[in-house]
Amino acid sequence: MLGLGAARLEADMNRLMALLFHQFIWKEKMEKLAHPSTRWLMWDSAQGVLDEQFMQLQQLQDESSPNFVSEVISIYFRESEKLLKNVRSLLSALHLIRTFVANWRVMFLSHRADRECTDYRKIGIHLNQLMGSSSSVGAKRVRTVCLAFRAASEHRSWSGCLRSLEVLEHEYCYLKTKLHELFQMEQQRVMAAGARHHPLLS
């Protein structure tokens, strides 16, 4: 009776994990997930929000480091938001240059080229950082969007960059929301079960 709430939460968490590892939830797979030994069955994660690296983080969590995953993810969120903010302002600055220089073309042409170059390069550097940290935590989709974004910045395509930024922010938001849900459910489950172990440990 004590475990009922916990068991339900655990099932919910499994559903959420399935969603994150693969976009589509298939019923048979869901039932398979209920069994611990197949819980981490990874099927084609081409569309997955998360990949195996996230599982690696979970494996590294133990009694000596019981909050490892949430600590790492918190840092990831903090750093990602800083990077996104920087990219956003660089893109705005680039937009200003575009519209401003349209009127003062001759005078500022060379300066514009230098400035644009620098700003696109800075965007590229930020994206590399975001790609690196996303790959380190298993944020697969975010990393994929960064790749496309980086290509747009290398081509100095402002509209390409803007579109990429929109998709990136959407993906990041989705990831953050889902991971927060996961951590919340875990806390509730631990309370409901009164248990010391949690299902994220293999």
Binding site: L60, S64, Y76, G132, S133, S136, G138
Partner: protein
């Protein structure tokens, strides 16, 4: 060859990303290594006692001349001093050149990998680094220890005349190391040198 307590080897990890430092520290600790992490090549050199730094940084232990490091694992892409630059400086130093160095990178660039291996890096890990990669560190550490032991023996040789003794020691070390020696890990798309 059972020891009551296993000696903990000390690894110095260098990475400018806080997140990656957390990860590598956890990976190493889980694999029973003692870990020190720094965020730049210059800090790494300071800790190793190589660089003369005028600024008083609270994070650097200036008296740590006897901080023994058995392996250095460093990120490749870092501002100011890259992992490659750090590798070069280590290999150029008489006191540090025998410490094994492993390079990590998030990008699979064959020319980069070859350059590092040619400069003396033991291995090249593709990020994200996995727990299984930690198993590849010990052979390099043991090789480093062997070199260190060998150097000490050479010094002994010069001051004593017991050459027979030394050849037996060397043999014992060989037996310890050879079963575990493996080729450097590279991705399948890269041809080994």
């Amino acid at each position: 060859m059972a020891f009551a307590t296993e000696t903990q080897f000390h690894v110095l990890a260098v990475d400018d990303s806080l997140l990656d430092r957390m990860l590598i520290e956890r990976l190493l600790k889980t694999s029973s290594y003692q870990v020190t992490t720094v965020d730049s090549g210059s800090k790494a050199l300071q800790i190793l006692g190589l660089q003369d730094d005028q600024t008083n940084s609270p994070s650097v232990y200036s008296d740590q001349h006897d901080m023994e490091v058995n392996l250095i694992i460093t990120d490749y892409c870092m501002p100011e001093m890259t992992g490659y630059d750090l590798l070069k400086k280590i290999k150029e130093s008489s006191s540090l050149k025998d410490i094994p160095v492993v390079i990590m990178s998030s990008e699979n660039v064959p020319s980069r990998i070859n350059r590092c291996l040619e400069e003396g890096a033991e291995e090249f890990f593709l990020k994200p680094v996995q727990l299984s990669d930690m198993n590849r560190l010990k052979p390099h550490i043991l090789k480093g220890k062997y070199k260190e032991q060998h150097q000490q023996e050479v010094l002994q040789d010069n001051s004593t005349t017991s050459s027979n003794n030394n050849s037996n020691k060397r043999k014992a070390m060989d037996d310890e190391i050879s079963p575990e020696m493996t080729r450097p890990r590279l991705t399948s798309s890269v041809t080994v040198l």
